[in-house]
């Protein structure tokens, strides 16, 4: 018989193996009509695939690539982000965070933190707490009114109801949550090399931090009024 059937096409597509493939091969070789059909289909597939391959080989339009580009260098204004609920900017921040969620979180780079009295972090009972300037900034500073070296980013409640605040300082950025009346550090991320000492980090929220914020936050970030009210109540 010369009818092309499922088996014939499965053979043509390399879907048969072993004896089945050998048997079909023999059948095609012995049958000039099937041989010709195989040839026609191969040529047709090459033509169709070749035509569509020109698409895959062409440059991808900018609008498609742009949709996937991380917002590098785009300055995320934390104060604005904290106020914005539905804004596009917050949308892109969340997108950033979602993207970063695949990355390991919690890289602590101790070398980025200066030691001695001015150290912004102290360790007690295996836990890290904000100290000195970082502690006072977390206690008193509002996102809308940066002063000193520490900038406050987002303020929000975590899943257990505690208030958390993200911050950026020249050498690192991180997240601290209120725990027994103190700011316990939940994550601390070193500024990328060559970027410490300035506020480049404020431009693009560290993706690790963004992911941590995203996974920690319950609900929406505080707006300016909520942030101020929370400060008035001692961050409880």
């Amino acid at each position: 018989m010369t009818d092309a059937d499922d088996k014939f096409f499965a053979w043509l597509d390399g879907e048969l193996s072993g004896d089945e493939a050998t048997a079909m091969e023999a059948r095609v070789v012995a049958d000039p009509e099937l041989s010709r059909l195989a040839e026609q289909h191969r040529a047709m597939q090459a033509q169709v695939k070749g035509a569509f391959d020109t698409v895959a080989e062409a440059q991808v339009p900018e609008r498609l690539r742009a949709a996937l580009r991380p917002p590098q260098g785009e300055v995320i204004d934390f104060a604005t982000a904290a106020r914005a609920r539905e804004s596009r900017r917050w949308g892109s921040l969340r997108q950033w965070a979602a993207m970063a969620a695949t990355l390991a979180v919690g890289i602590l780079v101790g070398t980025a933190i200066p030691s001695r009295d001015s150290a912004p972090v102290e360790v007690q009972g295996g836990r890290m707490y904000a100290a000195s300037a970082l502690n006072s900034a977390l206690d008193s500073q509002l996102a809308s009114a940066p002063s000193g070296n520490v900038r406050i980013g987002l303020t929000f409640r975590n899943q257990s109801g505690a208030i958390c605040r993200s911050f950026t300082e020249p050498q690192a950025s991180g997240l601290a949550c209120r725990e027994d009346g103190r700011w316990q550090l939940r994550g601390l991320f070193a500024a990328p090399e060559g970027q410490s000492g300035n506020y480049r980090m404020a431009g693009g929220m560290d993706p690790n931090l963004a992911a941590l914020v995203d996974s920690t936050m319950s609900g929406e970030p505080f707006d300016a009024a909520q942030e101020k009210a929370a400060r008035g109540k001692g961050w409880r």
Binding site: A4, D5, D6, F9, A10, D13, E15, Q40, H41, A43, M44, Q45, Q47, V48, K49, G50, A51, F52, D53, T54, V55, A56, E57, A58, V60, P61, R63, L64, R65, A67, L68, R69, P70, Q95, A98, M99, A100, A101, T102, L103, P207
Partner: protein, 165 residues
């Protein structure tokens, strides 16, 4: 230290293939890129549903195909009341055109468009994108016999349209 490859980076690397698939499904290049963009947006929104370690390409193809099915229904209703797309009528009008890659693409797209949707997607996935029968059967949630019979009908129709030129 170089950052680990992100979801976005993997997706960006897939873009050429995704566009190729979109062109095989769509009626013209503009629709194809709209479909690609919609698939990217949906992927970014539902990123949490993708399980790292599983194949991102199959996941993306499925997203694109489902979007295409959704929009194809609305489109089919609309096209009933419209003149047939002129590209289809010009197939083979000038034999010299086939020398040019982009016109060749136009012609092949026009032929693909004449296949029923359920054949077109399978022809695109297997003959153009190079997936195996089993992969496509899992991707589209169809029995493998359905995949192979639709493929057979689709490629036979294509051969009649494309092969004779």
């Amino acid at each position: 230290m170089s950052p680990p490859a992100t979801f976005e980076a993997h997706l960006t690397a897939l873009l050429p293939r995704l566009r190729r698939f979109a062109h095989a499904l769509s009626r013209n290049p503009a629709d194809a890129d709209d479909l690609t963009q919609a698939a990217i947006e949906r992927a970014l929104r539902s990123k949490a549903q993708w399980q790292p370690g599983t194949r991102l390409d199959s996941w993306m193809y499925r997203i694109m195909r489902n979007l295409w099915i959704d929009t194809a229904r609305g489109r089919a209703r609309k096209e009933k009341f419209e003149a047939p797309p002129e590209d289809a009528e010009r197939v083979g009008e000038d034999p010299r055109e086939s020398l040019h890659a982009s016109l060749d693409l136009k012609r092949v797209m026009a032929a693909m468009r004449r296949l029923p949707d359920e054949q077109r997607e399978i022809v695109a996935l297997i003959l153009v994108e190079g997936f195996g029968y089993r992969e496509v059967s899992e991707m589209l949630d169809l029995p493998i016999g359905t995949v192979s019979s639709r493929l057979m009908r689709g490629r036979t129709a294509l051969l009649a349209m494309v092969g004779e030129q």
